[in-house]
Every structure is written in structure tokens, then in C-alpha cells.
Subunit: 345 residues, 2 copies
């Protein structure tokens, strides 16, 4: 591969590592003043997502400023529903908002799976190519998408929600419509991830951010089968599945064709390791709120997490995206603590 | 006791029952047209909460209209912070909002634990007395409060939130302040629950609605010790603890001095029963979204849940409060299905 730093790829494969690799979900974003400078020169969040030059710049910023062991593409999971015909706005403070919502078979005209992925999402692939050119093999680049269930939540609800009760309602009232929409999202997502691979990403992560609002049985009916379809299609690069809150389904997730399982901060590392065994890498899971604390506490909490690993197959991350008002200096303390930690042999 | 219907009390004690008892969290509220009629004649939610005549009326409505096996006091967990000096508004659509927030020791002037509980919350006790008079022993009355951790979340955040990151931040940045505030809330909550017992409630439930946002260790530091203080003080009536999302702490919750453990819809009934054993009653946990479905599916999903019980120590409920746009006829289908279900001996 010839990366200057390939420690995350070696960890994914279970190879010998000298220290644990570390990156942060949402590292490319609002925490960095350098990001805010780029963002404020533009008309809005979407211009940043859709302009390869700027999206590539903020993708690389954390590699240079925070010295993380991987870059992650700056983009949004909602580019997929938009590509299918359901456009969104990103409202300051309240978050994503869709004018149309999918509530009936008729609404599926706004959920088109027969699209030319290069035509609709070519700007993402261009960003990836530009990142790889400028990153120049310093660290690997992670691409991503939302899981079909999570994308479904937004397409049905039309916005963020605490309970996504409209989305969950549809599973009981119109299961055929739910499966049709999930199938369409899956089809586009597979094309999208393959496009990212072709454009040059080195790893992929699928975010099932709303896994935790489904019970075990519903998760196995409406999310896992679609994750399986995706996982079985991704062969060229390592795949991470991050199913936030899916406490009851870790065993099933570990049976999918993925390399790494992401954990949120409420999941117990040792319990999950016992379920998963040594055949997968585990990623996570410091509470993002730890980064609000004094340096000494950040060091202690980080070391406590590292002590709990008892295996080399771990990628260090937070258990959720870094919160926007986190001081980048605290992030550096976290990263430094990880990098200086000596793995017990 | 001489209740016309005491099946819920017998279930709590593990006595022999002829069928499972059933009630719904938030049964007294927006789903009933009869409630909306009372509510629309008043200036707002708080007038309804604070006027015993009206609060008592809507408390009893579901007993008469839905034929549930228990009444639950119509009130709000936020009357406790208000009694301590932090008043709130209930905004249409966005929910609770506090003008002041607790972020420093100075702010604790708005979190006074040395209050005359009868002076501040006498209206709740008056409601309880009026309910008991008008309910006239048809079914038991359940009183309630929020858990200290959940009340803390609102007092620090100042509103609802998806992540309550300000509240969680305080646990790392100012743990002494956090424990002081939690202690104060606990002291007032114990007085408040004892006041409810004195006024005549037959059972109590403590809602830890935001349990799920803490990891296992933090939950055992910042929530469980305060729940224990409360549980150890409540001796006169049966106590239910509903710690939503506390998947990793069920074993610890089962060690507290409570009679019943409430489960959300993501918790697996058999797994929890295996952990808890037969020494506690379990309450829950149908997904509230099932009540959006056709009657046949409601019957099937309800029976599937009942089949999973394999024990008599179960109180049937939803895994969360009934959603406001639920059709009361669907609630009746759910209740009828439970009442007609034959317990296998």
C-alpha cells in the first residue's frame, strides 16, 4: 500500500501493531477554526459538501492539525436520498429538513433507484480523487454511507426526530412499502459505495445511526438483511459497521461480512469482545463528553478505555461524533494519550 | 384493600392472577378526545397540572374509557425542579423550557432542597385525594416522579435534548456540583413521594427517562446511588423503576429495593427475566408504534409478547408512553387482547 502511516489498515486485518490507531467521527467539521473559515466563505453546508475543492480541503485538515491515523471523507449521509429524488435542506440549529416525505407507494417517485450514480453523486467521487491526490498516501481515506434503515428514517420522517415514530409506524402499517423503500435505498447505496471504492477510498464505514430505536426482532427484519446485502458486495476494501444503540444485535452484526464493528459509548467493550471473539476489529468508544474535561481526566478516561481492550484488534475512536463545541486542544490530548499508550504484550 | 379490581397489586406481589393486568404510560393525556376537551378549556398544560379538579378528572378518564387496571396521576416530572426554584414553561411542539439553568454552584440558588413540600406541591397531593375520592376503589392509583438523574438532565440542559451533552459534560467537568445537585433533587423527591403516599397513592413509579444516555460506569455513579436512596425510603407502597435504555444496568437495578422493573420496547423480556429471576415483577413492553397498525397485527404482536412472558409476574404496558396521535380504539384492541389472553399454567 505504501502509506506513510498504515497502522489503521494493519489493525483492521489483525496484524501486529506497535500502538493503537485513532481517529474521530466528525473530525472533519465544526470543531476546527480552519473548517469554520472555509465554511463561512460559502453559501451553506451543501455548497461545501458539493464542491470537491472545499470538501477535500476540510477532509484533510484533521490529518494535518490533529494528526489522526485516517482521514474521513467530508460529506453527509443524506446525499443518497437527494440523489434518489428527495432533496434536503440543512437548517442551522434544527438540522436536516425534507420538503417531500415518503409515506405511500405514490411517494416512491421521489425514491428512484434507477439513477446514474456518476451523474448524481459524481461530486463525491471527484472529492475522493482530489483528497487522495493531496493526501498523497500519508494516511488511508475512509468513505462512508448511511445504513438503509437510517436513510429510511429520514426519508419517511422528513427531518430528525427523537423517536422517529412515523418511520417506525410504517413498519407496522405498510411493511411492503417499507421493504420496497429499503431495497431501493440499498441498491443505490451499494452503487454509491462501489463508486467510492472506484474513486479511491481505502476503507468504508456504514453508519446505522438510528439502530437503537428498533427492537431486536424489527432490527433483524428491517435493517440487518439490507446491511448484509451491502456487506456481501463490498470486497475490495475493509468495511466497518457502526450500529448505534443496537445492543441486542451485536451477535448478528458480528456475523455479517465486515471487518470492524463500531461501538457507541454505552456499549461495554469487554462484553462485546466476548460476543464477537477475535475475528473482528472493534472501534470506539470514549464518551465524547470526556473531551469537555480537564486534560488529566481525559488522559485517565482514555487510558482506562485502552486498558479494557485486552486485544490488539482495536481502533480508538469516540462512541459518537465529536461534539461541535469541543476544544481542538482537548482532542489533541486524547490523540496524544492514545499514541503514547504502550500495548501490553 | 377492597379494590373492585386489585389485579395489578396482586401481580406486583407475585400472587396468583387469573389474567395479566394492563395500563399505559401517558394513558391520561392527549390520545383521548375527552382529555383534549378539558385541556382546551384551560390556559395551558400547567393550569391543568396545577388544578386538582381538572387533573383528577383526566386521571380518571382512562379508567372509565379504556378500562385499564390502574389509574396514573396526571402530572409532570418537572413539578419537582419547579418546586426547587427552577420554573419551566411547556411550549407547544418543542416541549419543556427553563429560563434558568444549573451550570455552577451559584446557580444552586435555583435548586433549593429546603422547601416546604406541602406548600410547593400541595396541589399534587390535593389532586391525589380528589382522585381517590372519585375513583372510589375501582382500581389502584399510581403516583410518580422523575429519577434524580433525569430531573438533573432538564435542570442542567434547560430543555429537552437528543444527547443532553451539557448535562453529561457536567459529570466530567464539575462532578462535585453534579453530586450536590443530584443529592438535592433526591432529598426533595423522597419528600414528594412520601407526600404522595400520605395523600393516598397505592403504588409509585420512578421514571429514569434518560438512563440510556449514560454508560454503565457513569450510570452506577450518577444515577443508581440516588435511586437506591429513594427505593430504600419507599416502604408503604410497591415501587416500580423504569430506567429507559439502561440495558447494561438491569442487574444492578434488580438489586434495588423495588417491586417492579419497567422495560422499554428494545429490551428482551426473556433476557431480562433471566437476569432478574422471579423475585421481581416485570412491566412492559410493547412498541407503542404497534398501536398504529391494523387490529389483527395489534392482536398478534400483543399475543407474541404475552407468550414470551413464561411467568405470572408481569404487568402489561407499552415500552414507552403512548404516542399522542394514537387512535383510542386501537388502545382498546390492545387492552382487550391482554384481558382475553389465557395464562398458561
Amino acid at each position: 500500500m505504501n502509506f506513510q502511516n498504515d497502522i489503521i489498515l494493519r489493525t483492521v486485518k489483525g496484524e501486529k501493531i506497535e500502538r493503537y490507531p485513532v481517529w474521530l467521527m466528525r473530525q472533519a467539521g465544526r470543531i476546527l477554526p480552519e473548517y469554520r473559515k472555509v465554511r463561512s466563505s460559502l453559501s451553506g453546508f451543501k455548497e461545501l459538501v458539493e464542491t470537491p475543492e472545499f470538501a477535500a480541503e476540510v477532509t484533510i485538515q484533521p490529518v494535518e492539525i490533529l494528526e489522526v491515523d485516517a482521514a474521513i471523507l467530508f460529506s453527509d449521509i443524506l446525499v443518497v436520498p437527494e440523489a434518489m429524488g428527495l432533496s434536503y435542506q440543512m437548517l442551522e440549529k434544527t438540522g436536516p429538513w425534507f420538503e417531500k416525505k415518503i409515506r405511500s407507494f405514490d411517494d416512491l417517485t421521489f425514491a428512484n433507484a434507477n439513477i446514474d450514480i456518476n451523474d448524481r453523486l459524481g461530486y463525491v467521487f471527484d472529492t475522493i480523487k482530489l483528497v487522495q491526490k493531496n493526501l498523497n498516501k500519508r494516511v488511508p481515506l475512509i468513505g462512508f454511507s448511511g445504513a438503509p434503515w437510517t436513510i429510511f428514517c429520514y426519508m419517511v420522517e422528513g427531518s430528525g426526530s427523537k423517536t422517529f415514530s412515523e418511520s417506525r409506524k410504517l413498519l407496522y402499517t405498510q411493511p411492503d412499502l417499507a421493504h420496497e423503500l429499503l431495497s431501493r435505498i440499498t441498491k443505490v447505496t451499494i452503487q454509491y459505495l462501489k463508486g467510492q471504492i472506484k474513486a479511491g477510498v481505502d476503507m468504508l464505514q456504514v453508519f446505522d445511526s438510528w439502530a437503537g430505536i428498533l427492537g431486536k426482532e424489527q432490527y433483524s427484519t428491517f435493517s440487518l438483511p439490507y446491511l448484509k446485502l451491502i456487506a456481501d458486495e463490498i470486497e475490495e476494501v475493509p468495511l466497518t459497521l457502526f450500529c448505534k444503540g443496537a445492543y441486542s444485535s451485536i451477535e448478528q452484526i458480528a456475523q455479517l461480512n465486515c471487518n470492524t464493528i463500531g461501538l457507541d459509548w454505552n456499549m461495554d467493550i469487554q462484553e462485546v469482545r466476548n460476543i464477537v471473539g477475535e475475528s473482528r476489529t472493534i472501534q470506539g468508544n470514549l464518551d465524547p463528553c470526556v473531551l469537555y474535561a480537564e486534560n488529566k481526566m481525559i488522559e485517565n478516561e482514555t487510558k482506562k478505555m485502552l486498558d479494557s481492550f485486552k486485544s490488539r484488534r482495536h481502533i480508538v475512536n469516540l462512541g459518537h461524533g465529536v461534539y461541535p463545541d469541543t476544544n481542538p486542544e482537548k482532542v489533541k490530548t486524547f490523540i496524544k494519550t492514545v499514541k503514547e499508550y504502550e500495548i501490553k504484550s
